[in-house]
């Protein structure tokens, strides 16, 4: 019998509550054998400084049973490593747990644990560690096991490793900006003398500076600005007029006029306007490309499934890469492992948690010979299954064969910029040719001067910058509120949504939150008894009771009996304990359960003690979306059965807006049918079963409680804690679109001002050189200030 005088402490490793004396080492208390084990490994290697940089830096290690046999397979190793020869292996591992300076310190000291790992470097923002080790002395599996031993479990999945190449585009852009900036600076310096006026005997300088300016403009035109020409040309071929066309036209005309003026000694040219224009445009492009190092928007089932499974061949177990898994293979699935392909249950007690796949909250029991669909997670002892369908053809994964996944995603909605630039270009060309025709009969020279000047000043630099700067400021604000958008275009899509579709399980419900209240006074022994009984059950309510009671020592139980949908009866310490619904505990139907909360009653040894009350487990702030009912159509689309229909009804317009028992394919089709009615649909979901709907919708948002965990491919990832801010996000996105409209008007007025100079054919290089940076600066300042003011109004800052 444990005494009631137990002193509580915090685990030295992970900081969880724990009881003193149970696991102890060097006068430090630990919550579990796992945490103590990590401490032991570190203290043996003299790495205890780990605990000095931060308090409780470690990850909780209470539940741990991962196996890494598959890392011995050469075929798998080949796909995972960056480089390998007969001595050295270089690998980059993604470790979601990296979160503090202690992590960096420990991971970079890893060669004190094993000298064969001679190089390790952490990239904190990407949560990656780059390791080099001597593969004659240590295997990859041993390296990974060391990482696991010290509490840094790498997330190994073939798909996430593939996405390494994304940085190249940005890298190229940085180089272009560097060249443009270099030329811009030098050209400006060389143009000043011209603007301030050069006397007659300094004419040689004028020609010298002119030549240098041409020289500097060439790389700007050919290297930095080349993207605008190729893009404009590609769009013209597709008969689309986008903003790149007037930009390319402006750049081209600027260069030609500069060269001609300098060669014919008729003027100073516009070299600095040209370089400045390209420089600012590239900077605009750069801020638009926000990268989230630790978040992936492109995940599919491959990153949810394991890299390899254990197959049984001739009575022996061996790991097999998932891609080699064929029909007829016998696979062994242990506790908490995922079933990778549709299979028939051959041996063992299967109890499968499909919550991520179908949205069903309670685990499902399967009998021998039954088909188990891929994606379920086994809970309980190991089971054996025979694969009946290849991985890519499973009930769940064939969703990815739908055309929604092959369609190009980027241009689902035309942005404001795209719509406006069409008209802008047409008007611009009309004015340019108009002024050419007007002057041509009287003065050919002046006609061409006016024509080119119009194209130069009307070059929509500020217009091209207003969207990127507004959107990147907005993206930063969303980011701070834990709402991660894939790219800037998503903000505009968010503003144009008129229909919202919500998934149920995991999206509007949330099991992890504290929502159990105890209406009974229990002694420590009572708690122990209840914990011991409930820990045997996999029912979600039992799990929540266990979580609520915390980690108390278990007692032995006899006569355990669980009646589905009713409750549990068992004998502990010689006393009969009954937990369950009122009809089960009281043996009559007197108490009618109300819908607001679920109650689990308790009886020990014939005495009624009270009950646990479970609040409806909907996410914080769900009631707020009802405010949106007048602006948006909000639908519920659940894979689960309809037992919560009544409880959810107040949140939706009517019963017809709620759909239950939908398969992943039906969800996708439902979104399609809404779109066929001309609606702009936003889907919010969390599981693999929503993947199709997320992809098909005009804007797919994946909701997750931990952004490092798996989330299905989507346009945006919303942290569960910010679900309550959804209404504000939607309103703020509308504000940002308004800001873009206003800044468009501002840049238009600058263009008009420039045009008034230009049509007369007397645009001086000085005016152009001043007008362009001033308009750019105004737009950048206006958009970033206005966006922040709007965010403050919406209480997002």
């Amino acid at each position: 019998m444990t005494t009631d005088t137990i002193t509580l402490a915090n685990c030295y490793h992970c900081g969880n509550d724990c009881t003193e004396g149970q696991y102890e080492l060097d006068a430090h208390a630990f919550c579990c054998a796992g945490c103590k084990g990590v401490y032991q490994v570190l203290s043996q290697s003299g790495l205890c400084n780990y605990y000095h940089y931060n308090d409780h830096p470690g990850a909780n290690r209470a539940k741990f049973d991962k196996r890494y046999e598959y890392l011995d397979e050469p075929g798998i190793i080949k796909d995972l490593v960056d480089y390998q020869d007969d001595q050295v292996t270089v690998i980059t591992l993604y470790i979601p747990y990296i979160h503090c300076s202690s992590c960096i310190w420990l991971l970079e000291q890893i060669n004190k644990i094993d000298p064969a790992i001679y190089y390790s470097r952490v990239d904190f923002l990407r949560k990656q560690v780059n390791l080099r080790f001597d593969n004659r002395k240590i295997t990859l599996r041993q390296v990974v096991e060391i990482m696991v031993d010290i509490g840094y479990e790498p997330l190994i999945s073939l798909q996430d490793i593939v996405k390494k190449q994304t940085g190249i585009v940005k890298d190229n852009l940085v180089k272009k900006i560097a060249v443009a900036g270099f030329c811009f600076g030098n050209v400006m310096l060389l143009s000043f003398p011209e603007y301030f006026g050069l006397s007659g005997y300094e004419q040689t300088f004028r020609h010298f500076f002119g030549w240098l300016n041409i020289l500097f403009s060439i790389p700007v035109l050919l290297y930095c600005g080349s993207g605008y020409f190729t893009s404009a040309w590609a769009n013209l071929k597709n008969k689309v007029l986008n903003i790149d066309f007037p930009l390319a036209l402006g750049i081209g005309v600027l260069f030609l006029r500069t060269v001609i003026e300098i060669l014919t000694h008729t003027g100073a040219g516009f070299a600095d306007t040209l370089c400045g224009l390209v420089f600012f445009l590239l900077v605009g492009k750069f801020v638009q490309q926000k990268t989230y190092y630790h978040i992936s928007f492109e995940r599919d089932y491959r990153s949810f499934f394991p890299v390899a499974v254990q197959v049984i061949e001739e009575g022996k177990e061996r790991p097999l890469p998932l891609s080699d898994l064929k029909i007829g293979h016998r696979v062994l699935i242990r506790h908490n492992e995922i079933i990778p392909a549709d299979a028939i249950l051959l041996k063992g007690e299967a109890c499968i948690d499909f919550s991520f796949v179908t949205g069903e909250a309670a685990p499902v029991e399967k009998t021998l010979g039954e088909v188990v669909y891929a994606g379920g997670r086994q809970i309980g002892p190991a089971i054996e299954l025979e694969v009946i369908k290849p991985v890519s053809q499973s009930y769940l994964t064939q969703l990815w064969n739908n055309e929604a996944f092959t369609r190009k995603q980027d241009n689902r909605m035309q942005t404001f910029n795209q719509r406006v630039s069409k008209y802008f270009t047409v008007v611009l060309l009309i004015i340019a040719f108009g002024s050419l025709v007007y002057w041509l009969p009287s003065d050919i020279h002046r006609g061409f001067a006016a024509f080119t000047a119009v194209l130069i000043v009307a070059c929509p630099c500020a217009l091209a910058l207003s969207t990127p700067f507004t959107m990147s400021a907005a993206l930063g604000i969303f980011d701070r509120s834990l709402f991660y958008l894939k790219n800037t275009a998503v903000v505009e899509q968010l503003a144009r949504i008129d229909t919202i579709v919500l998934d149920k399980t995991g999206t509007i419900t949330n099991s992890s939150e504290e929502n159990v209240t105890l209406y009974a006074s229990l002694t420590h022994t009572d708690r122990q008894m209840i914990y011991s009984v409930c820990s045997n059950s996999i029912h979600p309510l039992s799990k929540q009771i266990c979580d609520f009671l915390g980690n108390v020592p278990k007692l032995s139980i006899v006569n355990y009996q669980e009646i589905p949908g009713q409750g549990i009866a068992a004998t502990v310490n010689g006393q009969l304990l009954i937990v369950g619904s009122s009809s089960f505990v009281f043996d009559n139907n007197s108490g009618t359960e109300d819908n607001k909360s679920t109650k689990v009653h308790l009886r020990i040894g014939g005495k009624y003690l009270g009950y646990f009350s479970f609040k409806n487990h909907y996410r914080d702030g769900l009631y707020r979306i009802t405010n949106l009912n007048s602006y948006y159509d909000i639908y519920l689309l659940s894979g689960d059965n309809n037992h919560e229909r009544k409880a959810l009804l107040p949140f939706f317009k009517s019963d017809s807006f709620m759909h239950f028992n939908k398969s992943p394919q039906q969800k996708l089709d439902f979104i399609k049918s809404l779109q066929a009615e001309g609606k702009k649909v936003m889907m919010i979901g969390d599981g693999l079963n929503d993947s199709g709907a997320l992809k098909q919708s005009d804007l797919g948002i994946a909701i997750t409680d931990d952004v490092n965990n798996f989330s299905p491919g989507s346009d945006a990832i919303l942290d569960g804690r910010s679900f309550k801010k959804l209404v504000r996000f939607l309103r703020f996105s509308k504000d940002t679109v308004l800001i873009i409209h206003i800044s468009f008007l501002i840049s238009l007025s600058y263009n008009l001002l420039g045009l008034s100079f230009a049509v007369t054919g007397k645009l001086s290089p000085l005016v152009a050189a001043i007008l362009m940076p001033v308009s750019t600066a105004t737009i950048i300042a206006f958009t970033s200030i206005a966006t922040h003011v709007a965010a403050r109004n919406r209480k997002l800052l």
């Binding site: 400084n49 605990y51 000095h52 940089y53 931060n54 503090c100 300076s101 960096i104 310190w105 970079e108 952490v122 990239d123 904190f124 923002l125 990407r126 940085g167 890298d171 940085v174 180089k175 560097a178 060249v179 270099f182 600076g185 030098n186 310096l189 060389l190 300094e202 300088f205 010298f208 240098l212």
Partner: protein, 59 residues
């Protein structure tokens, strides 16, 4: 005043050297991770007294 030709040549050359240095840094990946080194530099090799020097380190 012809010295201007020489001076401008020098200044352009200097600027080119810096541009080249930037390209080299970019190419060798020195700008890939701009955050971790700022934490790494605050980590001592050995801390003797627990908690003596932690307040400036990222929590």
């Amino acid at each position: 005043m012809t010295i201007i030709f020489f001076l401008i040549g020098c200044s352009v050359l200097m600027a080119l050297i810096f541009l080249g240095a930037f390209f080299w840094a970019q190419h060798t990946g020195q700008n890939d991770d701009l955050y971790t080194p700022s934490v790494r530099i605050l980590l001592d090799d050995e801390i003797t007294e627990p908690g003596s020097d932690t307040d400036h380190i990222l929590k």
